[in-house]
Symmetry: C2
Amino acid sequence: MRVGVIGGGQLARMMVPPAVALGIDIRVLAESADSSARIAATAVGDYRDAATVLDFATGIDVVTFDHEHVPQDVLARLEASGVAVRPGRDPLEAAQDKIRMRERLAALGVPIPDWAAVRSESDLAEFLAAHRGVAIVKTPRGGYDGKGVRVVRSAGDAADWLAEGDVLAEELVDFRRELAQLIARRPSGETAAWPLVETIQREGVCAEVLAPAPDAGDAAVEARAIAEAIAEGLGVTGVLAVELFQATDGRLLVNELAMRPHNSGHWTIEGAVTSQFEQHLRAVLDLPLGDPTPLAPVSVMVNVLGGPVAATMPDRYPEAFAAHPDVKFHSYGKASRPGRKVGHVTATGADLAEVRARARAAAGFFEA
Amino acid sequence: MRVGVIGGGQLARMMVPPAVALGIDIRVLAESADSSARIAATAVGDYRDAATVLDFATGIDVVTFDHEHVPQDVLARLEASGVAVRPGRDPLEAAQDKIRMRERLAALGVPIPDWAAVRSESDLAEFLAAHRGVAIVKTPRGGYDGKGVRVVRSAGDAADWLAEGDVLAEELVDFRRELAQLIARRPSGETAAWPLVETIQREGVCAEVLAPAPDAGDAAVEARAIAEAIAEGLGVTGVLAVELFQATDGRLLVNELAMRPHNSGHWTIEGAVTSQFEQHLRAVLDLPLGDPTPLAPVSVMVNVLGGPVAATMPDRYPEAFAAHPDVKFHSYGKASRPGRKVGHVTATGADLAEVRARARAAAGFFEA
């Protein structure tokens, strides 16, 4: 069994351990020789170039992804070449283009914020007028970790983006917290969902994940139904992450989708019987899915971001390991740059406050 | 941090996942291009050749091992070159030569079977006469998985081996069961021990491991003290496996030593907070050791041996995964040959009988 991953970031890197365990041959098309997934990189090249991607896919059973950025025309040529592409070109479109995503979720009847595809400042003025003078505007493509997202209060605030093409306008949701529902689906239709988690963002970047989401109540059942409907409705294969707002009025609204392992699921490496990375491999290979049951009452994941100091995580291991022998440390082997995700830590246990304090303290050793 | 592993078998392979997680650069000197650890292999060559090994060690912080077979003169040259070798040449001698091992354990006062270094048939006849006419004879070097071990009842039974050199004669211990105590030690002296386990052999090869050993009682404390004494006394760094007999009269006697991760510790990958493979990396890098606490009341590991059919483990994953979504499967990426260890499965849970039945059933999918 040979899986090819396009993109050499930390998500591809974290697919390596389960591939090694299961005896699955994993190959990576990386952007650079020093990519995070370099141990499995068999090619370095541009994922936007069809010839490069087709060459990489030679002899591979299933192609999957570390990111959503492979262009539709490259995906079409890959599918036409006969290799299995999972998730496929069609579902991936909804993860690549936020306007298409809203159109398709609306068609599925999934709860989403009010939205409009906006072509002009007058369109945007109209949307603002209908939404108390404020909106979230997103570029349809290329946004991540808070990039390509802006709060606007006047139609002119998005003039630069509108000059480049259509944008998505969304209702500014008054939310209590953000949640994420991860689910895996294989081509034959089987799905497996991990518990709903709470995600805490700082400056648009995921900072912490609490698993399961505290006091989830009915939201857990509702989120799972939403994720099932999306996975099924869009024909997703592999891991699907559904980022959700829990509005102050209690509604769950879908914010974003990712069709790959996701930061909100890193806790599953130690916190669940089957991690999102193993499950993604099983799902794209159309193998029976593993048990997503949590292994501990509470898991907390805290991201490690690069700081102004160029120290790598391993430089701080002597102190961090001594203080926290039971915390699991992950370093992505990336050069440290301010704000860049360079690793994470996961703590597990019985009491949320204790586990969270422990995870934060462990991650604190890597702050500049 | 760069660790070099000499030997490309499944033990080196299973060091890869924790190295990837921790951001430790792992490099392997493998015997062949299709070695089990090929994903991390940066060199293919003969570990008995000093030039090959010294070349491999260039730019590496710590050299460690997948097996005990690197010759003493190569180890001496490696140490002289300034690279950290862990475990070092001196402790490794006791894992390489069973007569040296008995001499050194005897000097440490550790409980061992009666033994003698035997140079001739008359020596052996004398040993047999003193031990009810039966003895275990072992070649000092090169034995594993039941090879190089023989039950003898007459001095002539070991004539072929004696023609080649000295052999070790040991009392045939009347034992109730076999146990194994794993411990890790770092150069600064810190140690961490996993619980005592029971190992079940079939035809001289490890078949199953029950963790912790059922009804261990005082043996758990005693075994740990023995392992501590050996690790400290021999100056072992990394993981040390102490294979023990529990005699019918209750005595614990040291059977064999291995100074590396060991088959009796594979259960720790899913069954303990820190696996033996992560711990070995921490220990040889002189980093603070991780918590060896078990994650479940019971873990059972069952080895998968190659059969007459050339099917690989992944060929059987569709059925095995469907039947056992909560069992963890490990395939070593090796060609199947009768009796060869090609993988293992681990099940965890609360009830020994249930967990053992589940692990056996899961492993059963890979029997020819």
